[in-house]
Symmetry: C2
Subunit: 404 residues, 2 copies
């Protein structure tokens, strides 16, 4: 069925598939098309079941078919979704985010993570009257011309005012700021470093404070891209535990448990600028995604979600490390435990990682070999332990191949 759909897709979709969900960039054996999902489990179109560690690449934070969230969405859909104006859900959700996030005095909603990061930079530019954006080399901030990882279809002017620094490197940040001179609009930085295929890094508190101080000194906006990390590290904003508050944050992915929604939150210093820019979309005021978002935030707050992610993430990381040690396979596990990334030593082409994940997939565990993974509220200790039974076997296979 998957093969037949791929053959049909090849005819009517360029390359048969596009974007980050393209199975052709995964190891052989991964399915392209899915039939259904429940909790932390997925079924492909051939009926194969997977214990999932990608959570749709982030959006599924409470698990598929969460009863409370799905009921909220269903109830709103019965009333109305896309109408001539917003529903009361817009105000309720804005109040909810402003109440949760100490940095935020206001919120605006969109549909894609790229919408939110783009709007955040527009607001920073409108508010400062400056143009230059400092951002970390290799960071992913979306897939529109100014930030997509490819250069096909992109012009030099799309990136004219971007200046790059190295994540967690204060000196390189200061050098980038010197290059911007008196034209600095914003420092844009991911909540933590989660660049594709390299070790993850949490922000050093000194780096976070230096970024804040730089923005304060120059009157620039500190913009945190929370699209990937948001609501998995802290429900108060990922840098709140560091004591560093951004001016503007971009959110998407997990905030509505899979419903299409993005948000920009900001402080009063940038309220007028946010009012000045003109951004909009045909479906941005849809009530269903907002109702789902409110329910998602309720569920996360009421269930000790962050502690659950940390506990499950630590259990997985500890188990994987024990197995790697036992099998004499050197791996690195970096960044926050709730967004697991497993890389193998001496694996520049990711072939060992691919072998490991392909083997796990054969036994029904869906991992990624070079992108960070995600946990949800639906992952139980039993699920983690079941995954570890499978990975023990996969490590043995990688060790065996390495020995020959």
């Amino acid at each position: 069925m998957d093969a037949a759909l791929r053959a049909r897709a090849d005819k009517v979709i360029p390359g048969g598939m596009y974007g980050h969900l393209n199975a052709r960039i995964l190891p052989a054996g991964y399915p392209q098309f899915f039939a259904r999902a429940d909790g932390c489990r997925l079924w492909d179109v051939d009926g194969r079941e997977y214990l999932d560690f990608m959570c749709s690449w982030g959006p599924i934070i409470a698990g598929h078919k969460h009863p409370v969230i799905d009921e909220a969405a269903r109830k709103q859909a019965e009333q109305g979704d896309c109408m001539n104006g917003p529903t009361a859900r817009l105000v309720e959700l804005s109040e909810r985010l402003v109440g949760m996030l100490p940095h935020a005095d206001w919120a605006m909603f969109q549909k894609n993570g790229s919408d939110a990061t783009t709007a955040a930079l527009m607001i920073a530019r409108a508010g400062t009257g400056k143009r230059k954006i400092l951002l970390a080399k290799g960071a992913y901030h979306g897939a529109v011309p100014w930030c997509t990882p490819s250069v096909a279809g992109v012009t030099a002017e799309d990136r004219a005012h971007l200046i790059y620094f190295k994540f967690n490197d204060i000196e390189s940040l200061e050098a980038a700021a010197r290059e911007a001179g008196d034209d600095l609009a914003a420092v844009l930085v991911s909540a933590f470093r989660h660049d594709l295929g390299v070790p993850q890094e949490l922000p050093h508190p000194d780096f976070a404070r230096a970024a804040r101080a730089l923005c304060d000194r120059q009157g620039a906006a500190l913009v945190i891209d929370e699209v990937r990390a948001g609501m998995r590290l802290s429900l108060q904003g990922s840098w709140e535990p560091l004591g560093v508050r951004p001016d503007i944050c971009a959110w998407s992915k997990a905030i509505a448990n899979g419903h299409s929604l993005a948000a920009v939150t900001g402080n009063d210093a940038f309220r007028k600028a946010a009012q000045q820019i003109y951004i909009t979309g045909s479906f941005w005021m849809g009530g269903v995604a907002m109702a789902a978002a409110i329910a998602t935030l309720d569920v996360l707050e009421n269930s000790g979600a962050i502690q659950h992610f940390e506990k499950m993430g630590q259990r997985l990381r500890d188990g994987l490390q024990r197995q790697a040690d036992k099998h004499g396979v050197k791996i690195s596990q970096t960044g926050p435990v709730q967004l697991p990334l497993v890389l193998f030593e001496d694996d520049a082409d990711y072939s060992r990682g691919a072998r490991f994940t392909a083997e796990a997939l054969k036994h029904g565990v869906y991992l990624h070999h070079r992108h960070n993974m995600f946990l949800s509220l639906a992952h139980t200790a039993q699920d983690i332990d079941h995954a570890l039974q499978v990975t023990d076997h996969a490590f043995a296979m990688v060790a065996d191949v390495a020995a020959h």
Copy 2:
């Protein structure tokens, strides 16, 4: 209730509301917040009922709560929406569009109209290796930095490669092409001219043919922005009745009857380019919006939708003209009847239009005074006639004010 929500919104949303659904840019009396919708009727949060002629600014083409479309969406939601890959709906919908649209050999899906217009230009640039885009001055193509009507937060570089012509003016198109020289990537043109607050214009067949010939001569892409017009003028593409086929089209709004979806369709000449660019979004592969789109296209095809829109639009236009003549009020009604636009003579500040629509609103008919309106399959002859009873009264009031 609306007033109370606006007061709460003022605190947590910049300006209290943003974008095209901001009621502050409508005449006094228009509600900001809506509670529910059914067919071509809306209820605001204070329980007031409206016979609606905006259709959520386009997306609602079959009417709210359409049983076939809603059932398709509900069934898909029960299986899965946002997963680790697409569902079979992706292939089915791509095949459907390729089968319907004579110009199209492939399709790709996004979430916003701006996503689709932006992707179309990226594909044109990737395919031609050129940079310049010719587009009509005053045309709306979305609300991201290269095209948003505001300049707040926008840099000059965001629009560095845009050259403007006048819609339907072959000479100005040729002049713009001369300015682009050998760097011409695309001619981007709306399916018809629907700029805010000015008379609408259908494309002259000569202009459409000239644009096609120009692109053929220079190896550029002819890109039609179908976001506004799409599926209301023709189910084969808006320029198909003119005998002019685009290379690439951008779609959104009506294609999924209010579900968040956009699409780019293109021909084989641009297939490789479409494969080369990297665009993606967290929710783009969601099955629910695609299932809704397939059902929407089924409903439109099976119900003689275009003829229905034309018939209802003509009935409304004829009725309004008769009333205007009777009351001695000079109006212009331009463009396709299925996207009605009513402008008043000597009304540079739109105050007469605002008086007219505010009066209609008081009697439960939701019109717009300077943006084109939309019809749906849910609008019956009885609905049109009911609206005309109300507009007769509104014309009388405008005539009365003008006489004093």
